[in-house]
């Protein structure tokens, strides 16, 4: 390391400690500490177990886990919810989500969910799948499950790589994107183009609500939360499959800092995978939803 670089680091360290001192000594800080009464503005949903997660720093999985469990708590359906998490980074989801869950083989989550939902039609069933799982090895199950209109929620985390096996090319890897198995960038003449799953499955009559969201900034997180909440709630209607695609990040395998990975979503991912609703329920369907009330089993 050069002398110049060292000086820079020292300066930066000094700046940070000065800023911290300033904050501690400021009036604002004192006022906060002296306040007598607090109001709870945020807490962990009780449907999420209070344990450390294994996810890499900055990874979207932990956030999406929380959003789903918040939705379950807000809808009051913890007793009636069964989740399915297949092979992938989220295979341990049952260590975090405080609902009954089944781990599934790679690609088979929607078949497993079909088995559960057909026999327990009054329960809320969701799957939580990655892009390799849902769009490569499990694409047949994905399409046929949705084509049957299975009345479940599919949460699809699309981060364009195989995360758990450390960064191989996925069916949703962007054209030209480098991964460990496309080290020179995804060559579309060899591997074809990223599959736009939401657009694909929205063509099937069995899909009821299809949306693509992200969680790389506050506004996006709020929209995703709303989408999950709606999608779970729609199960009451028994109208077909709800599909919430979430553009996730993968700082570790994208070889980026978490912040860089969030920017990459805005700069690159959304160009191939535009955010927004792809298929919405009709007004008549929603009217029916209001009639069923909020807390009934679906």
């Amino acid at each position: 390391m050069s002398a110049e670089e060292l000086t820079l680091i020292e300066k930066t360290d000094k700046n940070i400690s000065e800023e911290a001192d300033a904050l501690t000594n400021s009036d604002a800080a004192v006022n906060i500490c002296d306040a007598d009464e607090y109001s709870v503005v945020y807490e962990r949903p009780h449907t999420l177990l209070d344990v450390n997660m294994h996810y890499c720093p900055g990874c979207a999985h932990s956030l999406v886990h929380k959003l789903i469990m918040e939705a379950v708590e807000e809808l009051g359906i913890q007793e009636d919810t069964i989740g399915v998490a297949p092979v992938g980074c989220a295979v341990f989801a049952y260590d975090y989500m405080n609902v009954d869950m089944q781990e599934a083989a790679h690609g088979r989550a929607t078949a497993v969910a079909t088995g559960i939902k057909r026999l327990l039609p009054d329960k809320y069933v969701f799957t939580y799948q990655g892009d390799g799982d849902l769009a490569a090895i499990g694409i047949a199950e994905t399409i046929h499950t949705i084509n049957r209109g299975e009345n479940i929620l599919i949460v699809f985390i699309n981060n364009a790589v195989y995360g758990m096996t450390s960064g191989q090319m996925a069916p949703t890897t962007l054209a030209g994107m480098k991964t460990t198995t496309s080290p020179f960038g995804r060559d579309t003449s060899v591997y074809g183009y990223p599959i736009k799953v939401s657009e694909l499955i929205s063509q099937l009559p069995g899909s009821f609500y299809v949306t693509r969201q992200a969680v790389n900034k506050n506004t996006a997180v709020r929209k995703t939360k709303k989408a999950i909440l709606n999608a779970l709630n729609y199960q009451k209607l028994n109208k077909g499959t709800c599909f919430v695609e979430i553009i996730g990040n993968c700082p570790s395998n994208w070889k980026m800092t978490p912040l860089e990975s969030n920017d990459f979503i805005d700069e690159h991912m959304v160009k191939t995978f535009p955010l927004g609703d792809v298929k919405l329920p009709g007004a008549e369907d929603l009217k029916q939803l209001n009639q069923t009330g909020d807390k009934q089993p679906c």
Binding site: E103, A111, G115
Partner: protein
């Protein structure tokens, strides 16, 4: 009690309904498509709002077995059926089911292979059925029917054993037993359904969450799980061995065969007796647990075992392990969907006896 003339596959399907099967998931394949057809027609008649019963044609055998996983994990009495190539496709799912200890019934109406092979009967899936089949260390309980009556009976038995041990049970039949028509009597069995407090039915406040998994990422924990499975298999070996013996009391020459081959060997033993040869037949009914102990006892007095199979020699290895050199174990097999007649097998025995006398 009701006696009907039925195809093996249809008797099995009817038994599934009577045994309280909540759900059947399957995919068409010859020679067992009648199971799905029969249930597609009959199960909806029994489905009510209070007791939902499901029949679903899946998009593949892979999907079928994973639907079985999901429904079994939710605590229901579930089954699937297929034939050899389809059972190969299910092996991954079966391994997961065994690992997650889910009770279910899997039926293989064995045809001849390898590959697409043919739709005629075969017993080439013996190793696959009894030695695991998929990846990892596990066992299925394997029942081998040799009549249409047993196609029905073993559905009741299979579901009960699956629930008792939280283990997948396989009925290993073949294209002939599945397709032939015979008399079958229903109404002999009571349906026993067990409580499944481990099932994922939705978590009430009164208990912690239930989860179904075959994943134990820490080696220390997986080894404990593996040892637990082995203990269970030992328990099954202790309690559940089933076999049938025909004219073995004074037999010097014993045919060892299961399923369709056992029917042929039964006749072969009768023909041999008529010729003055003291022949008998031993039929393993459970292929796992294998009736090794009884075979070993019979080896004390018999001069020769002749194992006959519709493959190139699979169960014969278990027979040899069972007798551990006490007696000569010979093999006769037909392949490719070809089925031997009893005379062929008697000829083989006579040849072996004459060789024995020469030496």
């Amino acid at each position: 009690m009701e006696t009907k003339l039925m195809k093996g596959n249809e008797a099995l399907a009817e038994a599934a309904i009577q045994a309280g099967c909540d759900a059947y998931f399957g995919y068409p394949i010859t020679p067992q498509s009648e199971v799905l057809e029969y249930l597609a027609r009959e199960i909806p008649k029994y489905s009510t709002k209070e007791h939902i019963r499901v029949v679903l044609q899946a998009e593949s055998e892979i999907a079928s077995i994973n639907m079985v996983y999901g429904a079994a994990g939710a605590g229901f009495r579930v089954m699937t059926s297929s034939s050899s190539p389809g059972i190969s496709l299910m092996q991954e799912g079966i391994s997961y089911i065994a690992g997650a200890e889910l009770p279910c019934l899997i039926v293989n109406v064995n045809r001849a292979g390898p590959g697409l092979g043919t739709i005629q009967p075969g017993q080439g899936d013996y190793f696959q059925a009894t030695k695991g089949g998929g990846h990892g260390d596990y066992k299925l309980i394997v029942l081998a029917p040799s009549s249409v009556q047993e196609m029905a009976d073993f559905v009741f038995l299979g579901f009960d054993l699956a629930d008792k041990y939280r283990n997948p049970v396989m009925i290993l039949s073949d294209g002939a037993i599945g397709q032939m028509m015979e008399k079958v009597t229903f109404g002999k069995y009571n349906v026993h359904k067990t409580e499944k407090p481990w099932a994922t039915t939705g978590k009430p406040e009164s208990r912690g969450r239930n989860y179904i998994t075959s994943l134990h990422i820490q080696p220390e924990k997986l080894e404990v799980h593996n040892l637990k499975l082995i203990e269970k298999y030992k328990e099954i070996e202790k309690n559940e061995v089933r076999y049938e013996e025909i004219m073995t009391e004074d037999a010097e020459y014993i045919f060892v065969a299961y399923g369709l081959s056992a029917r042929i060997c039964h006749k072969a033993a009768i023909i041999a007796r008529e010729k003055g040869i003291k022949a008998g037949m031993f039929r393993p009914v459970t292929l796992f647990p294998f009736p090794s102990k009884r075979l070993n006892e019979l080896a004390e007095t018999a001069k020769l075992f002749l194992t006959a199979e519709l493959n190139s020699g699979q169960m014969v290895e278990d027979v040899r392990l069972a007798v551990n050199g006490k007696v000569n174990v010979e093999f006769y097999g037909r392949l490719g969907g070809m089925v031997p007649n009893p005379e062929e097998i008697v000829n083989k025995l006579e040849n072996l006896i004459s060789k024995e006398n020469v030496s």
